[in-house]
Amino acid sequence: MKLLEKNEAKCIACGRCEEICANAYFKQENREKSCIQISEKQGENKINVCNQCGVCIDICPVEALYRDKNDVVRVKKDICVGCFMCVGFCPEEAMRQHDDYIEPFKCIACGLCVRECPTEAIFIGNRETAAVLETIAETAVVEE
């Protein structure tokens, strides 16, 4: 499974990754339109980004969410109805929505931000899918 991994201790919250992402997706350097979101909490920098757990896949009423050949979770915009249930049910709160658009958007581990990160706080990992999902299941809040 390809995914964007993080080392938050190294993050200096420069925001470069957000600009790169928003620009790649929407041709705008608007951080609110970035799949990766940096915030500061009690003096520590937090990196919020999709961990490709795939909970959203089962939430979607129209099967617009799927895993691609690299097991990355992606949105089929053409069949998405814009209900944003995936946004509300994302355990990481990493599925994005912006009022300028009628579909959600998310990190697809493209790696553009990684190249620009000055501190190597983010990097593209390639892990065995089953192992990752197991770890996620162990730490996830049990619902239902």
Partner: protein
């Protein structure tokens, strides 16, 4: 037979082409009118008056129906209409419960307007096809389908002789027929009735949505009041709408940001809290089966009692563990994260024409478990599912069927009915086999099933006139009012809920008000004035869902954390504000929560006047059977003797010591019946009605509802 052959047998009666039009701020501003007698198809403008005073949904339905009928119109007259409309909010995808259709017609059971709120995709897809409402009038000679293609702009009336009539088959056949591919199936919604709608007065409509995971059209029901009976009487086999391209902005809302915000907030709330609150995502409305039992509210044995030792056999966990597929996206419209449209998959039927078939069953809803199950003394989950399936596909309202069967069973056990009269059916409480056969007879139009299908009101007359039954006893135990069977809650210990059932427009259905916990358990509305206020606010608030294409459940089957510190928790104030926001977000208007209530009041009072116009809608029609008020029989009294004895002492000042049960029952009855009359006085006063239940002209004027035709009706009764 395959669907190609069926399609080949279609005969085109009329084709109508239309401009797709524009949807603006929740409205297309047009209604599709179809007359089946002369095959006329027209586009009618939705006027500003309609939008201002009736909003949409059942408001539009009632207005069209008012203009279509006369006081003499019977349900089976060609001028009677079936009107389907969602409402301005209907079809948004971001907020849970926003895809409902409201159906209105003159009911075969009540002789006045009935309205029913139903899921499935039809209403939203109809709107996206260019129509705020579909108004069907007249009668076809032979079975027809009305087909609407919302991408091409085509409406067709076609004779359709070969398709099945039963809902689950017809839904599948037409979905397959009109879809170009598997992926296209979700763009189709079908409205059907079923075979029993041809032989009973309790016929319902099934509205489909295609379940992309189960790969089967699911059926949601416009259950109450016999709308399916009217549908088949008009020789409508089905309505089909096809629209491809659903997106979150098709309503062209004035401010999508308000809608997104409210929607995502509620999705998160449901994600966080549903599993510790009502578990709607696991089991839907059936979560309350055992809750109702524990609070002595689950109707058992024709509403004699409120609980039963065997309820554990049909408790929600039984359905969760054994039957209901978990973890599916069970919304009946896009964006419903409450996801209560549960289904049992691969259920093997044991009886009837589809015996041996493995089917997907929509349900069980709470009402099905209570009505089909406990109220008939049947505590068998597989019976409940099987009867649920057959009710849906045959198009029988499960609530009416349950309440009817419970009434019949009590009559049977009292010797009013016997094997000879029922054609061999031993309809004792608990006899699942006989109950299923009764249902199959309704489909075939045979035997005692035909009599049962007439509903309790007509049965009471038949049993009295033909079998010599005591009419007073039947009046006491027959759980119908206005001709409609009660839904499945025991209101004996909640005076407010007796009003919640009795003081309704369409008949005793709990969708106007469910006040039992507020009243009986929480003791929040102790005085008549308190109860009257609740019987004003809640019916008005809940009417609003039906004007806008909304579902009631996301309002209070989930509550935010903030609710526990709010001043009026029963109203769920944060969610009320969500509704104000999404209404304003779609329409661009600027209403507040007070105007929301006034919007409902206009339509609510209009419906009351409509009832009066049809010869009903007065105080005498708001009477309720004593079974809903107190113990009719000695066994009922004695089963809760301590409770009733205590009430005699504390409330009436009557010493029960040394008195016979009959003596005590008489005193209790007098008291309880007087209480109900006092409640009516208080509620009528609060609603701005005369003591005969007529909305006053002052009230109508203050609401801006003093339309000349409305005032004219009222004036004759003041």
């Amino acid at each position: 037979m395959n669907v190609k052959e069926m399609l080949k047998a279609h005969k085109l009666l009329k084709e109508y082409k239309y401009d797709l039009g524009k949807l603006d701020k929740g409205y297309t501003n047009r209604t599709l009118y179809v007359n089946l007698t002369d095959q006329r198809i027209e586009s009618k403008p939705v006027t500003d008056l309609m939008k201002d005073k009736f909003i949409g949904g059942k408001g539009f339905g009632l207005w069209y129906l008012w203009n279509a009928v006369t006081p003499e119109t019977k349900w089976s007259d060609p001028e009677n209409e079936i009107v389907i409309s969602s409402g301005p909010i209907g079809g948004i995808t971001q907020y849970p419960g926003s895809g409902k259709s409201l159906v209105v017609t003159i009911s075969p059971l009540t002789g006045m307007p009935i309205d029913s709120n139903v899921g499935g995709y039809f209403g939203p897809l109809l709107k996206f096809s260019g129509w705020d409402a579909l108004e069907v009038q007249g009668k076809a000679d032979k079975d027809v389908i009305i087909y609407i293609d919302g991408n091409e702009g085509i409406v067709r009336i076609e004779e359709a002789p070969l398709e099945a009539v039963d809902g689950h088959l017809l839904g599948e056949q037409l979905t397959e027929m009109y879809a170009e591919s598997e992926a296209d199936k979700r763009n189709i919604s079908v409205v059907t009735a079923g075979t029993a709608a041809e032989h009973t007065l309790i016929g319902l409509l099934n509205f489909t949505f295609y379940d992309v995971r189960r790969k089967v059209p699911r059926l949601k029901q416009a259950g109450r009041g016999g709308i399916g009976t009217v549908f088949r009487d008009k020789h409508i086999k089905a309505l089909v709408v096809k629209f491809k391209g659903v997106k979150g902005d098709l309503n062209h809302p004035a401010d999508i940001s308000q809608i997104n915000k409210a929607g995502i907030k509620l999705h998160k709330e449901i994600h966080r809290l549903d599993h510790v609150q009502n578990r709607m995502r696991q089991i839907g409305t059936a979560n309350i089966i055992e809750v109702m039992d524990e609070y002595d509210l689950l109707p058992t044995h024709n509403y004699k009692y409120g609980s039963h030792p065997d309820t554990y056999k049909i408790a929600s966990d039984v359905f969760i563990k054994k039957y209901i597929t978990q973890g599916m996206a069970d919304g009946c419209w896009y964006g419903c994260s409450l996801s209560c449209a549960k289904a049992a998959d691969n259920f093997k039927l044991k009886t009837g024409p589809y015996k041996g078939h493995c089917v997907t069953i929509d349900g069980p809803e709470y009402e099905n478990a209570a009505g089909l199950g406990s109220n008939c003394g049947i505590f068998d989950p597989e019976y409940i599912l099987e009867a649920n399936f057959y009710c849906d596909t045959y198009a029988v309202d499960t609530i009416s069927f349950g309440t009817i069967t419970a009434f019949i069973m009590e009559c049977y056990e009292n010797g009013i009915l016997d094997k000879e009269k029922t054609g061999g059916l031993e309809l004792n409480f608990g006899n699942a086999e006989a109950a299923l056969e009764l249902l199959h007879q309704m489909s075939r139009g045979e035997g005692f099933g035909k009599i049962a299908g007439l509903g309790i009101r007509r049965m009471k007359k038949i049993f009295t006139e033909e079998y010599g039954a005591d009419p007073d006893f039947l009046q006491d135990i027959g759980m119908e009012q206005k001709g409609l069977e009660f839904s499945e809650y025991l209101p004996k210990e909640s005076l407010a809920q007796q009003g919640g059932y009795g003081l309704t427009n369409k008949g005793p259905q709990h969708d106007e008000a469910w006040l039992i916990f507020m009243d009986m358990v929480n003791n929040q509305i102790p005085t008549f004035e308190d109860k009257a206020e609740a019987l004003h606010y809640f019916p008005m608030f809940r009417t609003w869902f039906g004007l806008n294409g909304l579902c009631k459940l996301p309002w209070n089957d989930i509550a935010p954390e903030s609710n526990s510190t709010s001043d009026e928790p029963a109203k769920i104030p944060e969610h009320v504000q969500n509704y104000v926001d999404i209404f304003n977000g779609v329409t661009g208007k600027n209403i507040d929560k007070e105007e929301l209530i006034r919007q409902s009041e206009r339509v609510y009072n209009f419906q009351r006047v409509f009832n009066i116009r049809m010869g009903y809608g007065k105080r005498t029609h708001d009477k309720i059977p004593y079974r809903s008020v107190g113990p009719v029989t000695v066994e009922e009294y004695e089963s809760r003797k301590d409770r009733y004895d205590q009430q005699l002492k504390e409330l009436i000042g009557y010493d029960p010591e040394g008195k016979t049960t009959e003596q005590k029952m008489k005193i209790l009855r007098k008291y309880r019946e007087e209480q109900y009359e006092k409640l009516i006085d208080a509620v009528y006063m609060r609603r701005g009605w005369t003591m005969d239940g007529i909305p006053t002209i002052e009230k109508l004027s203050s609401l801006g509802m003093d339309l000349p035709e409305v005032v004219e009706v009222v004036r004759r009764h003041l």
